[in-house]
């Protein structure tokens, strides 16, 4: 409770400070007025936009244009300016980039990531984007346009989720290149085989958990597929209950079952003491298949390391 009270106090203080703050940036507030003439920009319609931006003709089949009509009753004619703002001044500049009116259009991809995201969040600030603001990606200046191509001419044919890359994982690998290598290690989940994606475990749009996990903890994320490991068990193995990544590296490993190192060393990280847990097992020609180092090491006998439901399962061997 002490921590809860502290956090509540800090949150409240910050809220008061926020109330005093003045700056606010909204897409609809950006560049609506001509710096030269002071005229206000007005809506001109999509056909005018496509007059110059013919390359975006495919937007007619884009998820956005369909959803805008169905969800908000915004016809295609008004779709461009829903995000880009009224375009009369921009259109009036006739492509002259030196004309200040040319810059009165909102182009989210040219805004700073947080400002660009504000345009998208006008409609998308619910569901999985509920916690975007202040999330790891947001605070590290990753914006919606870093991953999504709203017009999606090249990606998945204008269909959800409008990613820039044809494969979702490739979008993540732009920045997380080391993971692209890791998923190819000897023991890996079927990401390379296309049976899983990064977003099966992570919510890149922000989440209450660390590492942008889709669930509230590491274990809950793993239990999505490994429900058999959820238990509860009569005999629990404490580190297993607390976090699967104590022993496994879910992105891929040199070792079988994606273990971070192999048994018996894996177990000897924690079990040092009497009798066999702390014996320096080595290989010898005469004893190559010593069951404490060969094959699965300790797990050759302690088969139920994830927990046992057996009344004689104290040592997780039943």
């Amino acid at each position: 409770m002490r921590h809860l009270r502290g956090a509540a106090a800090v949150l409240a203080a910050a809220g008061i400070a926020a109330g005093l703050a003045t700056a606010r940036l909204r897409a609809e507030e950006v560049a609506k007025t001509s710096p030269a003439s002071g005229n206000k920009a007005e809506f001109v319609g999509a056909e005018t936009c496509l007059g110059c931006h013919a390359g975006h003709e495919s937007f007619k089949k884009n998820l956005h244009s369909k959803a805008l009509l169905n969800a908000k009753n915004i016809p295609f004619e008004k779709s461009c300016e829903t995000c880009h703002g009224p375009g009369s001044l921009h259109a009036g500049a006739g492509g002259d980039k030196a004309n200040p009116d040319f810059l009165t259009i909102v182009n989210p991809s040219k805004l700073k990531p947080a400002e660009g995201a504000a345009v998208c969040l006008q409609c998308h600030e619910g569901g999985k984007r509920m916690h975007w603001k202040g999330s790891t990606h947001d605070m590290k200046n990753v914006g919606c346009q870093s991953c999504h191509g709203m017009h999606a001419d090249k990606a998945n044919g204008g269909k959800s989720p409008l990613l820039k890359s044809a494969k979702a994982a490739d979008t993540c690998f732009q920045c997380h290149a080391e993971k692209k290598a890791q998923i190819r290690k000897g023991a890996h989940m079927p990401l390379v085989e296309g049976k899983m994606g990064c977003n099966d475990c992570h919510n890149p749009h922000g989440s209450p958990a660390e590492k942008l996990l889709a669930k509230d903890s590491v274990n809950q994320t793993c239990y999505q597929c490994h429900q058999d490991k959820r238990g509860p068990f009569l005999w629990e193995h404490a580190p297993v209950r607390e976090s699967c990544v104590t022993c496994h590296d879910p992105h891929g490993s040199h070792h079988e079952r994606m273990l971070i190192t192999r048994a018996p060393l894996l177990c000897q990280r924690c079990h040092v003491g009497g009798r066999h847990p702390a014996t320096p097992y080595v290989l010898s020609d005469a004893d190559r298949e010593n069951s404490r180092i060969f094959y699965r090491g300790c797990v050759n006998c302690h088969a139920q390391v994830h927990g046992s439901n057996h009344p004689s399962g104290k040592y997780l061997a039943r």
Binding site: K133, K185, G194, P208
Partner: protein, 767 residues
């Protein structure tokens, strides 16, 4: 699959007008694969997550139906194969959408598993009585029943020959089939509802270890028959300035084979003995508790409110219930373990009841109940232009509401009764984190990030409280829209004062000395004091279709102890054991570059290095002391090093409008070493320690593909793919079915080198 039928069905389902725009595409190929595996045994690794057959293959099918406002698609991949995926989705985006899918994903472990245990149904794993009787007779003849000597039937050539004849091949792998339905609809444009249901079955076998005694590892092909049902309901109310959401999720896991009843290959009839652990010849059979049926319920409520000017507060409150209720298994199947059949070693080895009788159990069921309460609150905003702030607090509280179980003892290896009151620990955990993140735009091209976090842990373990303080500083340099450079560093200090020495489990040796199952100086890496330093650099350049990204990361963990390592017991050595340090470094690059109008290249390269040092120590009985003692001469440090290199390059060439060619090569190499350093060499075991043979894995694949667009609708494709896998691993190389030195029985599953050439000719037809 009849595509026209699907179109008609779709039109009926959607009431689509006849003018609906429909496109379909079939990809069909004829494939021939030649694979060679070391020693001729078929390699499972090549087909771990999907078969690679020869002959006619239906690669993909896709149909898109599009009308004004309605859309529907049907897609399938690897159709008819064991890794097929089928999906249909559609609806009116923004109003409602639905999705139905069915996925098959195999996980093949081996094609060469051999065993003599046969699953007779209901989890009964047995083998011919004749075989069991024969081995027992060899045992009695050579060592005498209950003599205490190691069971040495393994020295009997005849016994091994006899056993080998009874091994038969079993498939080792399971199939996961998942069917799911999701419906999203928007009764109004503020209200979003998502309903989903999901059913997954997992059937097959997996390698399952078991043991009837020390150094008597046994391995079976254990049957798997799991069924899981899940359902979810999520409702979101979305306004421009506030959003609310509630959700419920049910997960019901059912294991059709919750227990395995395993025959002991070394014993035909039960006997109870107090020693003889290394023989593994006490009980004639044993029970293994497999994952029990369980269910989980989760509810959550979340919301966010945009207030003031560019500020937002959001939060989530969640509650989960994980529970199971299943009959408690008997202590053992060994009917010889009873008060009417005392064994000579002593009273503690004789249970006060018939241990195999379920009525001897203090509880009829295992009725467990865990609850998780989680919450998060976050305030994020912009106090003034250029500065963004996020302040958050979250908590994850696992409470164990299970009843207290207490047993008067337990059966060890189904042969020996241990009279020792045991009480399974009810694990609990609480984690709180308060964090503050700041992002300040110093100039248009420079941002700086500052992060501060405080974590607090509470557990029911040897360390029951801990905290971690973390600070990070980073810079983002963005001189143009096309380039950015991120540099960041983090320092985190975890402290877990108050290692509970009394919580270290102890046992009593036959000589009456106390021994510690874990040395008091052990500091476990998931809870121990730790100083972490981390640095990261990332640079990325984008222009048009070109992208080059380079990143590097270093994480250095140093583990330490700042409290008593011997519990102030001078008989116990004050030394820290466990992980001492951990170092991880990686550098990676990813690029996609158009080289000229007709040629582009994609590539990546990553290298990582990890080094870990672990200190261990053998404990010895010391004359005159009532405890097992850790001695300096009995300690050693293990250094574990792993390196990996991964690289890939692919060229996409479009020499003609109708011709496209792709050439690619991928490479992955990993190597692990284990060295013993700083050994005191004070015991016989330590005197001879030497480095363990390094382990290596290397996978290479080269692919070429050429596509020629014969007509607007017809494309021909030719593929050639070469794949090579090499492994050197002492633990998984040439695994025998019988280990003649130790008496272990394995499935004989080895990870094998292989190479394969695959060629295919395909047709893609679009209409």
């Amino acid at each position: 699959m009849n595509g026209n039928l699907i179109v008609v069905l779709a039109a009926v389902l959607l009431g689509a007008p006849a003018a609906a725009e429909v496109t379909q595409q079939y990809d069909v190929s004829v494939q021939q694969r030649f694979q060679k595996t070391r020693n001729g045994a078929p390699s499972a690794r090549a087909e771990e997550f999907g078969e690679k057959p020869n002959g006619l293959l239906f690669e993909t099918y896709r149909m898109d139906l599009d009308t004004d406002g309605y859309e529907m698609s049907v897609e399938g991949s690897n159709i008819g194969r064991n890794n097929q995926f089928l999906k249909t989705e559609g609806g009116r985006p923004g109003k409602f959408t639905w999705e139905v899918s069915w996925d098959k994903t195999p996980h093949l472990f081996s094609n060469e598993a051999r065993t003599f245990w046969k699953h007779q149904g209901e989890g009964v794993m047995d083998f011919p009585d004749q075989l069991q009787r024969y081995w027992q007779s060899v045992d009695v003849a050579t060592s005498g029943a209950g003599s205490g000597a190691n069971f040495n039937h393994r020295a009997s050539t005849g016994g091994i020959m006899y056993a080998t004849k009874n091994f038969f091949y079993v498939p080792l792998g399971f199939m996961t089939e998942t069917g799911r339905m999701d419906l999203k609809f928007h009764p109004s444009h503020h209200l979003h509802v998502e309903v989903g249901a999901w059913r997954q079955t997992r059937n097959g076998t997996k390698p399952q270890p078991f043991s009837f005694g020390f150094s008597n590892a046994l391995e079976m092909a254990a049957p798997i028959d799991h069924v899981t049902h899940e359902a979810n309901l999520d409702v979101h109310y979305v306004e421009k300035d506030y959003q609310l959401g509630i959700g419920y999720r049910l997960s019901d896991f059912n294991n059709q084979l919750p227990n395995l009843w395993v025959d002991n290959p070394k014993r035909f009839d039960h006997r109870a003995i107090g020693t003889h652990y290394s023989a593994g010849d006490g009980g004639a059979s044993g029970i293994l508790a497999m994952p029990p049926d369980n269910e989980a319920h989760a509810v959550k409520a979340e919301g966010g409110w945009n207030f003031a000017r560019d500020w937002r507060v959001s939060g989530e409150l969640g509650y989960q219930l994980w529970k199971q209720k299943n009959p408690m298994l008997p202590y053992t199947q060994n009917t010889a373990m009873s008060n009417t059949n005392p064994i000579p070693e002593g009273a503690t080895y004789t249970p006060p009841f018939v241990a195999a009788n379920p009525s001897s159990l203090p509880y009829p069921t295992v009725d467990l109940n865990m609850q998780v309460i989680s919450y998060m609150g976050k305030l994020a905003g912009r106090p003034f232009e250029g500065l963004r702030v996020a302040l958050a607090h979250d908590a994850w509280i696992l409470e164990n509401k299970s009843q207290k179980y207490e047993m008067p003892g337990f059966a060890q290896f189904d042969q020996t009764w241990h009279t020792e009151a045991v009480e399974p620990k009810r694990e609990e955990l609480r984690e709180d984190k308060t964090s503050l993140k700041l992002d300040y735009e110093v100039t248009r091209w420079l941002d700086t990030n500052l992060g501060l976090a405080h974590k607090y842990f509470k557990r029911t373990r040897e360390i029951n409280k801990g905290r971690e303080d973390e600070a990070s500083l980073g810079f983002t340099i963005r001189p143009s829209r096309e380039f950015f450079l991120n540099v960041s560093g983090l320092a985190a200090f975890r402290r877990a004062n108050g290692y509970d020495f009394q919580d270290v489990p102890t046992g009593v040796t036959s000589a009456g000395a106390t021994w510690f199952t874990d040395a008091p100086g052990t500091r476990r890496p998931d809870v121990a004091d730790r100083n972490r330093h981390q640095g990261r650099v990332q640079a990325q350049w984008n222009r048009g279709d070109a992208m080059v990204s380079v990143s590097g990361r270093v994480t250095k963990d140093a583990y330490r102890a700042n409290d008593s390592l011997n519990g102030n017991d001078i008989r116990v050595r004050s030394q820290m054991y466990g992980v001492l340090s951990d170092l991880q470094q990686s550098v990676a690059t990813d690029l996609s570059v158009p080289l000229c109008e007709a040629l582009s290249a994609d590539g990546y390269y990553a290298v990582d290095f990890a080094s870990r040092r672990i200190r261990s120590g053998v404990s010895n009985t010391v004359a005159g002391l009532a405890v097992h003692q850790q001695l300096p001469g009995n300690e050693w440090v293990t250094r574990v090093i792993e390196r990996s290199h991964a690289a890939g390059i692919a060229f996409n060439w479009l020499p003609l409008a109708k011709l496209k060619a792709i050439v690619g090569y991928d490479f992955m190499f990993t190597r692990g070493t284990v060295d013993f350093v700083d050994s005191g060499r004070g015991t016989a075991a330590l005197a001879n320690v030497s480095s363990i043979t390094p382990t290596r894995k290397m996978h290479q694949s080269a692919r070429t593909r050429a596509e020629y667009k014969l007509t607007q609708n017809l494309t021909l494709a030719a593929n050639y793919w070469f794949e090579k896998f090499d492994i050197a691993d002492y633990g998984f190389d040439e695994v025998p079915v019988r280990d003649i030195n130790n008496g272990s029985i394995w499935l004989g599953v080895s990870d094998r080198n292989y190479y394969a050439h695959t060629g295919s000719l395909g047709v893609s037809y679009k209409f």
